[in-house]
Every structure is written in C-alpha cells, then in structure tokens.
C-alpha cells in the first residue's frame, strides 16, 4: 500500500499527466483523462475514439470502464498530427491495483488499438497504514 505522501505526489503527477508506462493512482469515483496522439490522412471523416480501463487475463481484455468520443478529422492528402482525449469515470471500478488501459479508433480498430498494462491503481475506502503511537509527553 502507498503512503499518503506517495498518494499526494502521484496526485500532483496525475493532474499533470503521467506518460506511459508511468503509474497513476486514482480514488474510486475520480475521472481519468486519457489522451491519445496520432497522425491521419485521407477523406474527411468522423470517427469514434474509445478509451478503456480494465484487466487483461491471458490476453483477453476485460473492460471495466470506458468512454467514447466522436472526433471529426478534415480531409488531408498528407499526414497531419492530432491529439484527442476521453474522460473515463471510475465509479464502477473496484479498488484494485495494476489496471490495464486501451485506446482505439473503433472504426479502424486494427490499425489503432494500443494497450498499456499495469498503469492504473484504484484506491477504495479510507485506509490507514502503520498507525502507532510515536510519542507521549506532558502538555
């Protein structure tokens, strides 16, 4: 289990964004913003970005929470860079460590699916650790 200090530090890092494969610790009920970057060329299209948090077991991804978002990409003859994000609520996720994440463009899943394992820890109920008396004195 993490110390309060660790939690505070990761909270700050989380607000700034954690780059893969860094770990992000969230409280159950918080919202995780997942940002993707990519290049695109072709006709003007609207596509669906799907960002997910889950657990991968024997190569099978069990999706625990996700968010979709429509992205409109203008026509372009050459590759242009884009960034997009989706905010994933963690309300339905059980407090547990080492969640995996995935992101993809649904309509072009085979060309875009990316996976990163063991990067999200979800904390649940208030939890104490190493509680002890450290001192006693007259006041």
């Amino acid at each position: 289990m993490q110390s309060l200090y660790q939690r505070q530090v990761e909270g700050i890092l989380g607000a700034l964004g954690v780059a893969p494969p860094g770990k992000l610790t969230v409280m159950k009920g918080e919202t995780v913003r997942m940002t993707v970057a990519f290049n695109y060329r072709g006709t003007g299209i609207s596509v669906t970005l799907r960002c997910s948090i889950g657990k991968r077991t024997l190569g099978v991804f069990d999706e625990h929470a996700y968010k979709t978002k429509t992205i409109t990409l203008p026509q372009s003859a050459g590759f242009l860079p884009y960034e997009a994000f989706a905010d994933i609520p963690t309300t339905a996720i059980s407090p547990e460590s080492n969640y995996d994440i995935e992101a993809k463009i649904t309509e072009y899943a085979s060309a875009t699916l990316v996976k990163i394992d063991n990067v999200i820890d979800v904390l649940g109920a208030p939890e104490f650790q190493d509680f002890r008396i450290t001192d006693y004195s007259k006041v």
């Binding site: 909270g11 989380g14 607000a15 700034l16 964004g17 954690v18 780059a19 893969p20 992000l24 969230v26 918080e30 919202t31 995780v32 913003r33 997942m34 940002t35 993707v36 970057a37 990519f38 290049n39 695109y40 060329r41 072709g42 006709t43 299209i45 960002c51 026509q75 372009s76 003859a77 590759f79 960034e83 905010d87 994440i101 992101a103 993809k104 463009i105 072009y108 060309a111 875009t112 990316v114 990163i116 990067v119 999200i120």
Partner: protein, 237 residues
C-alpha cells in the same frame, strides 16, 4: 433526279422556249415565255450527270427563232439553273443548304464513373474518356463528323480526335454518340476541350462547337489512414 431550269431576259416578242440535252433526247418541249422576259420553269426529271450539250431555243408566236444558244453546261441533278438570254450564260442558282445540328450532350468518363462536361473535382490519375453526342437538326438523314482537342492545365494537347460517322448515318432529329480515346488525367487543375460538330463531308460545315472547360482535376485523396496512434498520457481530471 433531274434539275430545274428557267430563262430570263428573253427577247421582246418571244412566246415559247425549250431546252434539251443528251443529244436532244432529254427535252422540255415548248414552254411559255411571259412579257417579263422570264419563262415557265422546266422541272427536268431526266438524269443530269454533267452533260455539256444543253441548248436553249426561244421562239415567237410563229415559232420563229428569236434566240438560240447551244453547248451549255455542265448540268447536274438536284440543282437549279437560270439562263440569261442577254449574256448567254447559264448560272447555277441553287440555294445553299443550311446545315443544322447541335452538340446535345457532353460527358467525361473517368474509370467507371461519368460526369457532365464541364466536370469538377475529378480525382487525379483517373483515365479520361470523352463522349460527345451530336444531334441532326435537319429533316433528312445526315452524316455527322466530330473533332475535338483536349489540353491539360499546362496547355499541352493530350488528345485529338476526329472522325466522320459510319453508315447508316443519323436520321432527322436523331443523335449520334462519338467516343474518343483514353488519356491520363495526371495533372491537377483545369483541363480544356475544343469541340466542333460537322456536316456535309464533301464541303464540311461546322454546325456547332464548344470551347471551354473539360474538367477540374484535384489531387487524389488517399484512403483513411492512421499512423503513430498511441496513448500519450493519462491523468486525473
């Protein structure tokens, strides 16, 4: 078959006239001469294939010759002639035929698609094929011909096409489709075409034309393609 012939400026006192050719075998018989000096028109139904032995005789009421001229011609079918007794000349006064036809439709085929000319936003690197329809505006069947020239945005001639249609030609009010050869639409920009529709191959007449845009070609847009897709970061919102 045959031709029409009349006389003018017959001498005063003339009463009848006649004409004959082919050694006299084809004859009009006696026709009237009016006070104006013009005669009654001979609507000849005999074949005329260039004979040059036509003679004209004009007589008074007693059939006494007032005017005579031989060795006129050549005479041909489907013509209208007038003989002038004053000048002793035979003139062909056939009214020139006014040919009428229109370019009724213009299309650009590119691969399996088609668009009306002027076409726009044709993807670059398609294979172009011009289709032009000519409509016969005459009351008789006509043989139509076409000529066109396609230029790319740089002004370079990319296709020249010219042809007279083959039998059975085009009936009155009907259309004929001319199809050219294929060329590569390999330059983005405005392509132009000059078209002329012809009739009367023996003495060709332009009956309609078009000078303008063939199409605009745009750089081809590739199929949707993603690259470098990845999660760049994740954070608590």
């Amino acid at each position: 078959m045959g031709f029409k012939l009349n006389i003018k400026n017959a001498p005063f006192g003339s009463f009848h006239w006649m004409a004959a050719y082919s050694e006299g075998w084809n004859s009009s018989g006696w026709l009237d001469v009016y006070l104006t000096g013009r005669g009654e028109e001979w609507n000849c139904t005999y074949m005329a294939i260039g004979q040059t032995d036509l003679f004209i005789s004009v007589v008074d009421s007693n059939y006494k010759t007032t005017h005579f001229q031989a060795n006129l011609g050549p005479v041909y079918d489907n013509r209208v002639y007038e003989y002038d007794c004053d000048t002793r000349t035979l003139a062909d006064i056939t009214s020139p035929v006014v040919y009428k036809g229109t370019i009724s439709k213009k299309e650009l085929e590119y691969d399996s698609a088609r668009a009306t000319i002027p076409a726009s936003n044709i993807p670059k690197d398609k294979r172009g094929l011009v289709h032009i329809w000519g409509r016969n505006g005459m009351t008789t069947t006509q043989r139509m011909g076409i000529w066109w020239e396609v230029k790319d945005p740089g002004g370079v001639v990319r296709e020249t096409y010219a042809v007279w249609e083959a039998l059975p030609y085009t009936g009155a009010g009907k259309e004929h489709e001319f199809i050219g050869g294929r060329f590569n639409l390999d330059k983005p920009g405005t392509w132009t075409i000059a078209v002329q529709l012809f009739m009367n191959p023996a003495d060709q007449v332009v009956v309609d034309d078009y000078y303008g845009t063939l199409c605009t070609v745009v750089a081809a847009v590739p199929e949707p393609e993603f690259s470098g897709f990845g999660i760049s970061d994740y954070s608590i919102k």
